[in-house]
């Protein structure tokens, strides 16, 4: 199986991993924050925020990719600004692939983490408040640890989605080998050429192995957490 993979495919595999990991790391804090806000706060525009978060799920991925291109392209309002201010470019760069993956994974992460927040007993936060803990300390030491299972679930969902993302990625950053060609876009290319079925199958298997590995790690972490809490 491994023989079927050429250097270009290996590059795509490593890039996919990097893209998925960076997307998760970068999106996680924002996802946790938005999930918290949606779970606990009431404010005007809450439903709007909720809707915006879900957008990448509702829209065809190609449209999301196109919107990203319009916003974050070199001529785009955000893209130009980020480029000039921080020197960060997304369009047709691996960072853009990570952005696309993060955006597409975002609704999944937020929802899972939000369920986690909703399952935390507010009585415990009250107890922490009476013990003098600041909001931030309560958040860090009580709320967040109790939400960890949700965060873990959200992260693994997001990671899997990031590994599989195709439509938005190819639209936003194309499939430039070594820069933006991830496993799914590589598979797409291979589909156009005769006789590359073995490579396609190998890439699919590698995807599955990566995702399964991540899943197993997350399940193991979740079990450890549950054991700590459950006392067995």
């Amino acid at each position: 199986m491994i023989e079927a993979l050429g250097p270009e495919e290996w590059t795509a595999i490593l890039l996919s991993l990097r893209v998925a990991l960076v997307a998760m790391l970068a999106a996680l804090p924002l996802a946790v924050w938005i999930a918290y806000v949606l779970a606990r706060k009431t404010f005007p525009g809450r439903q709007l925020l909720n809707g915006v978060v879900h957008l990448p799920l509702v829209l065809p991925p190609v449209v999301t990719g196109y919107l990203l291109l319009v916003l974050f392209g070199q001529q785009g309002p955000l893209g130009g600004f980020l480029d000039q201010t921080f020197g960060i470019t997304f369009a047709f760069r691996w960072t853009g692939a990570a952005l696309a993956a993060a955006v597409m994974a975002f609704p999944l992460m937020v929802r899972a983490i939000r369920l986690g927040f909703e399952a935390v007993d507010p009585g415990l936060e009250q107890a922490a408040a009476t013990l003098g803990a600041s909001r931030w300390r309560i958040w860090r030491t009580v709320t967040l640890p109790l939400v960890l299972p949700g965060i873990l679930a959200g992260t693994i969902l997001g990671f899997a989605k990031a590994l599989g993302e195709f439509g938005a990625t190819i639209t936003f950053v194309a499939a430039i080998p070594g820069e933006t060609q991830t496993i799914p876009t590589a598979i797409y290319g291979l589909l156009q050429v005769p006789g590359r079925e073995p490579a396609i199958v190998s890439l699919v298997i590698v995807s599955i192995i990566l995702a399964m590995g991540a899943l197993l790690v997350s399940e193991w972490l979740a079990r450890r957490m549950a054991q700590r809490l459950g006392g067995t």
Partner: protein, 229 residues
């Protein structure tokens, strides 16, 4: 690592273009649907060379100044063929023959309003007065490769793809070839986004040159027809 020359090419060109790119150290190719590529170029994609399977989008790029009008070249052509699962006997391109062959099944094509292969297929079917007979039996997909798969998996008894596509699968057989005059010529066009990029010009020259044309031919493409605008 940004390559010296970045080509944006229609996915259906992957086989020959990969071979040609291999001959250079620093040519990198990104494949996608022609519409997608064209839109990306209009939004500032850093491509040096654009290779499309669609003349309409090339017109848009030229009109918008995204490619150098002078650099547009005609790279290759293709034939539109009717295919069926392996073992299907050749067919006459006539309404009754098609309807019989389809039976209760469907007819796989690219999106007839959007995907180049689908647009050509619709033109050809209309030209041959076959459109009425099968219009309601179409199964339109987002690219030719998907149409090929439907036929190869026996999902549809017939489908229209480029001749070059039939090489991808051993499970399909060509059952008819559409006459060249039944549709606008199938043109693969290339262009430079920047006239002053000499290395890109060199690559594009290789594509149109003898060596490049031989590789296109080996992949089943036909020499260019008509003239690039």
């Amino acid at each position: 690592a940004r390559a010296e020359v970045l080509i944006f090419a229609a996915a259906s060109l992957k086989e020959p273009i990969d071979q040609i790119a291999e001959q250079f150290d620093d040519v990198v190719v990104s494949y996608g649907g022609s519409g997608t590529l064209a839109r990306q170029v209009t939004l500032g994609a850093p491509a040096d060379i654009v290779l499309l399977a669609n003349t309409e989008w090339m017109d848009v790029l030229v009109a918008g100044g995204h490619v150098e009008a002078d650099s547009v070249v005609n790279l290759a052509s293709n034939r539109l063929v009717l295919i069926g699962p392996q073992g299907t006997i050749p067919l006459n391109l006539e309404p009754d023959a098609l309807r019989n062959a389809i039976g209760n099944g469907r007819f796989a094509v690219g999106l007839t309003e959007a995907v180049p292969a689908g647009i050509y297929a619709k033109e050809a079917l209309q030209h041959l007065d076959l459109w009425e007979a099968i219009q309601d039996r179409l199964a339109e997909v987002d690219n030719v490769r998907a149409a090929l798969t439907l036929v190869a998996r026996g999902q549809t008894p017939l489908g229209i793809v480029y001749r070059t596509d039939t090489r991808i699968s051993d499970d399909v057989a060509e059952v008819a070839v559409f006459p060249l005059n039944s549709h606008r010529p199938i043109q693969y066009l290339g262009a430079l986004t920047d006239d002053r990029n000499d290395e890109a010009r060199m690559v594009l020259d290789v594509l149109t040159g003898v060596q490049g044309q031989a590789i296109f031919a080996a992949s089943g493409f036909l020499p260019p027809t008509g003239n690039a605008k």
